[in-house]
Amino acid sequence: MWTPILLSVKVAIVATFIAFITGTLIAYFLTKRSVPFKNFFETLIILLLILPPSVTGYILLYLFGKRGPLGMLLLENFHLQVVFTWGACVIASSVVALPLMYQNAKAAFLSVDPSYEKAARTLGSGEVKIFFTVLLPLSYPGIISGIALTFARALGEFGATLMVAGNIPNKTQTIPTAIYYAVQSGNSPLAQQLVVLMTVFSFLLIFLMNMYLKKKDFRL
């Protein structure tokens, strides 16, 4: 029972980290800088949110498969095969969770009064410094809720993970796939334990985050 839990937590932590960095940066460039084809990129990210995870999983399987463009690149240059490893779980989870991080970061950045950035600019700060000293601290509550939702989503990723990482016990079997196969093979007690664990953990994560953010919100 513990192997899928530990793997799920490991995958969710790494995936959240990746989605946090990429989601926040993409949200920053799409909301605060002039980027060509803005609408195109935004649609692409939101698409990940509405596509069935099996579709996203299939696309990832094609891209990272042995004959896929990215899979071949990794295999030839780094002798890495990601499909059906825990790395594939990470890729699937971070891609599926990315829109949540992006949406939260975007809303958070847009909620910051642009005059703060203007004030910082007239006080002699460059864009990178403004990002770290003004924008990021002021959008902190939105970023934190983005991270929590991303983590919860990554922890519960099922469809895309199953497509690219399969369900190999002790190797790529995460909590959601373990639940599915426990039910399929008639092992109800295991399924129930994992279901309770997932539900309680996710509830606590969101509950505690809301409590923390209510205390922390310093905006006037």
Partner: protein, 120 residues
């Protein structure tokens, strides 16, 4: 001396201003929506003019003419102080951090002061 001759279009609003300010206090007055803030933002560099020239003490801050090379000194290197309409204290910083924010961007050695000394 501040010299300016700039044009800026924002939607249907068209701002054209030309003139110079000599040393001392200058007051800009005009009806609401006549472009006072836009004009100040152009000088500070928070808005980019469509064309024209702005120079301060013979240093060109902005210049764009037909066929000429564009000059646009970034806001942080213009050395222009700006007090916003609703004065913007950073809500996530302490009073000291707010005071120090602009100061540490300048040459610390030139100032030779720590935050506490500056506060005193």
């Amino acid at each position: 001396m501040l010299y300016f001759n700039v044009e800026k279009n924002i939607g249907t609003f068209n701002l054209k201003c030309e003139g110079e300010f000599l040393e001392g206090v200058t007051v800009i007055q005009g009806a609401s929506g006549s472009g006072k803030t836009t004009f100040l933002n152009l000088i500070a560099g928070l808005l980019v003019p469509d064309r024209g020239e702005i120079s301060l003490e013979n240093k060109v801050l902005y210049k764009k003419t037909e066929g000429g090379k564009k000059i646009d000194i970034p806001v942080k290197r213009r050395d222009i102080g700006y007090v916003f309409q609703n004065y913007h204290l950073f809500p996530h910083m302490t009073v000291l951090d707010n005071i120090m924010y602009g100061i540490i961007n300048q040459n610390k050695e030139k100032l030779g002061l720590t935050g506490a000394e500056k506060l005193e």
